[in-house]
């Protein structure tokens, strides 16, 4: 039963906070419709949605206006006598043809919008998005920039030990940076299972499928932060892989690209110098944030699917095997290869951290240069 209810005292906390939240607290948007659009695509979809909604509403009111009138006027309790008619061919033809014509009226603008959305030609920039369980990778193909984007909401907020922030579950460590007013072409794929990339205000949602490359485009009107989520069930942390886009004015974006490339050159030297134990532990703790989803903030894991790291066979075994598992993953499990996701320094630091924290104290460490040599 411990697996079923993961902490019994949470039940009590649940009851107490439930009452506290009843007066509808500070969070409130009460959104009733699609969010205000930020791209031409989202704008067209919103117009289409509103138009269809209106047509449906009119049909609904007419049909059920007739029905409720009948329920009122033709009641037995009012003494209404039943008329025994059972068909009317003219009427039946009319109410087959009219809906058909309405549908044709709906199909025309829908087709036009779809054609508009599918046209990914003449783009100014290509960003490749790869879904992972449970994070996103962004690669700027023309600029040789690549990074991962993880949920940054602290576990303490998720487990109700701290109050929730304004962007609870919709915040990441590194947002995807995009220019405003440029046509951006996105290529979308996945490294494991199917995910879906979606920012409601952009009006695009596409599946990220392993070995498939899907494409879509966006031209964003205004700089700002835009938030969305993975929209295809992808396992345990499906609800915890948000998408944040930091949209900048085009010039700011160009400056950001130059910055990123300079940083990349600077960090290349990091792998060659010798790190101290303290440096590795401090950096390792930062990197370990990416492991918490499966292996737990205390290394406790979620047995049997996700093994604990505290006293684990790998984390307290030979360091060579530990390096191998982190770099190359475990085939046929959700433990993926981190070789391409993390830098040499990241891998060395997180392995050192796992062996000397989380209740382990092996006393050994691994240098980034050793990882570099293994590539």
């Amino acid at each position: 039963m411990s697996r079923v209810f993961f902490r019994l005292r949470n039940l009590l906390r649940f009851a107490v906070t439930a009452v506290a939240f009843l007066p509808f607290s500070a969070y409130s948007e009460w959104g009733l419709n699609l969010p205000p659009p930020s791209t031409s695509i989202a704008g067209r979809i919103l117009d289409l949605h509103n138009a269809i909604m209106l047509v449906c509403l009119v049909i609904f009111i007419v049909v059920f206006g007739v029905m409720f009138y009948s329920l009122y006027a033709h009641r037995k309790s009012r003494g209404h006598k039943a008329h025994q008619f059972s068909h009317n061919s003219k009427l039946e033809v009319v109410w087959t043809v009219i809906p058909f014509l309405i549908l044709v009226g709906m199909a025309i603008p829908s087709t036009a919008t779809l054609l508009f959305m599918e046209d990914t030609t003449d783009s100014d920039l290509t960003v490749k998005i790869t879904g992972y369980q449970w994070k996103w990778q962004y690669e700027y193909l023309e600029h040789d920039i690549s990074f991962f984007s993880n949920l940054s909401t602290p576990r303490a907020q998720i487990e109700n030990r701290e109050p929730k922030g304004e962007h609870y579950l919709l915040e990441v460590d590194k947002p995807v940076v995009l220019p405003a007013n440029r046509k951006i072409r996105f290529l979308l794929t996945s490294n494991d299972v199917i995910h879906a990339w979606w920012i409601p205000k952009f009006g695009v949602k596409k599946d990220a499928i392993p070995f498939y490359i899907n494409e879509f485009w966006a031209n964003i009107d205004e700089p700002g932060d835009y938030r969305g989520q993975c929209a295809e069930l992808c396992g345990k942390d499906h609800g915890f892989m948000p998408i944040v886009a930091n949209v900048m004015a085009a010039e700011d974006f160009d400056a950001w690209v130059v910055d990123q490339q300079a940083m990349k050159v600077a960090s290349a030297g990091e792998a060659d110098r010798t790190w101290t134990m303290d440096e590795l532990m401090v950096h390792g703790q930062e990197v370990y944030f990416q492991c918490i989803a499966c292996h737990g903030d205390q290394g406790q894991g979620v047995p049997p699917t996700f093994p604990p790291l505290t006293g684990g066979a790998v984390t307290t075994g030979p360091i060579e095997e530990h390096i191998n598992v982190v770099m190359n993953g475990r085939p046929n499990t959700t433990m993926v290869a981190f070789k391409d996701q993390l830098s040499d320094a990241d891998i060395a630091a997180v392995i050192t951290y796992e062996r000397n924290a989380l209740g382990n104290s092996m006393g050994d460490l691994v240098q980034p240069s050793e990882i570099k040599a293994l590539r």
Partner: protein, 526 residues
Amino acid sequence: MSVAHTETHDHHDHRPSGVMRWLTTTNHKDIGTMYLIFSLMMFFVGGVMALAIRAELFQPGLQLVNPELFNSLTTMHALIMIFGAIMPGFVGFANWQIPMMIGAPDMALPRMNNWSFWILPFAFTLLLGSLFTAGGGPASGWTLYAPLSIQGGAGVDMTILAIHMMGISSVLGAINIIVTIMNMRAPGMHMMKLPLFVWTWLITAFLLIAAMPVLAGAVTMLLTDRHFGTAFFDPAGGGDPVLFQHIFWFFGHPEVYILILPAFGIVSQIIPTFSRKPLFGYDSMVFATAGIAFLSFIVWAHHMFTVGMPLAGELFFMYATMLIAVPTGVKVFNWVATMWRGSISFETPMLFAIAVVFLFTIGGLSGLMLAIVPADFQYHDTYFVVAHFHYVLFSGSIMAMMAATYYWLPKWTGRMYSEKLGKTHFWLTTIFFNITFFPQHFLGLAGMPRRIPDYSVQFSEFNLISSLGAFGLGLSQLIMVYVIIQCVRGRAEKATDQVWEGAEGLEWTVASPPPYHTFSTPPTVR
């Protein structure tokens, strides 16, 4: 032997008593009863899972269940409600009603009938048992999309085998229904005189035979991918993950109509009775049902608009899906026209039937919106979809079964349920249903994905309302159980043979409750 043979003829009702009666029965009424009790039990099992889901979603943060269990609960809730509550429920009504409505003494294949029921308890023991395996139950959603479903533990294999058993049960049941309707109609009961419930079930049975083997194929391929080294859905071995979705939905979309056509049939029986008028447009009802069944086979990919199909594919599936609105509209117009200038009274079955027409149409119209590809990109995999299919499946299928329960229970038990309790149940169900599911449209439009155990704070209010509604909805169903028990135990007033003033059809010509064997001599239909 010959002596025993004569004896069975002499004692017409000779049958074992106690458990053996139910294990060995070949009587359509007994089997119908077992199906219905089974369906009711599964309705509550699946309902408790839904309440666990709504309790977790009552407010942001993780409170009661961890994300893995949450995913198992959403998966199991769907599988149990679809394959355990709705499908066996409709088969139960078919078993009771079809022989009595066409003037047949029993189903055509009574022993197979016994088997098609008794497979089910084993299938669902296996399915529910998966929750207790290491790694938990299936957690990839009821759609079991590969490659996610390749990842799960032994629970997924148990689910696959359970689905095979449910499929066998459904196909056997469907064969029986088709054979019965084709061969055992009373003299004079021409096809175009069949009650509409029988017609919709006949068409549903064909859909079952066509669709269930496709599902069996999909899950078998999943099984061999998981354990026997094939790579149907694994691109690394030359397979294709999207292939699974195509096969699944080629089953899945006809399945949607398997779940709703018998409900249309029930509503088409009840509305004329309480309007005291024949059904409007009988012929067009039959053709519309057949039309919907045909279209259901060519629209499957509208569940997959976001996978990145070619433009031509998206346009085809959009147009074909929109077309379904035409025959469905015809049905709704016919029901309204049946009420028009009738002499309407509002007993509980009629209240439920009217609610089905009204609320199902909300689900139908949101379905039309979902067919519009560009708009679907926004709605897909959000709570808008969750709201849509609950309007179709709860206020369509489930509430139609409630209507049917109140409509035929007096006939089956010989006891008239308490109208006061029935109406209380109706109003509580309708109100709480809307409190639960209407706000989910707004959640979806605002951007809340489905199948998430925790959500950002902007979604708090509507989730809270929805959860409160769900608990009200769940508790209200206990009234129906009480009503049924009262009737079955004979604690209610006696019902007449006619039961409803405006009811027409052969089932109302026999006693209430009907004798164990009805129509041993076929009636003549004029």
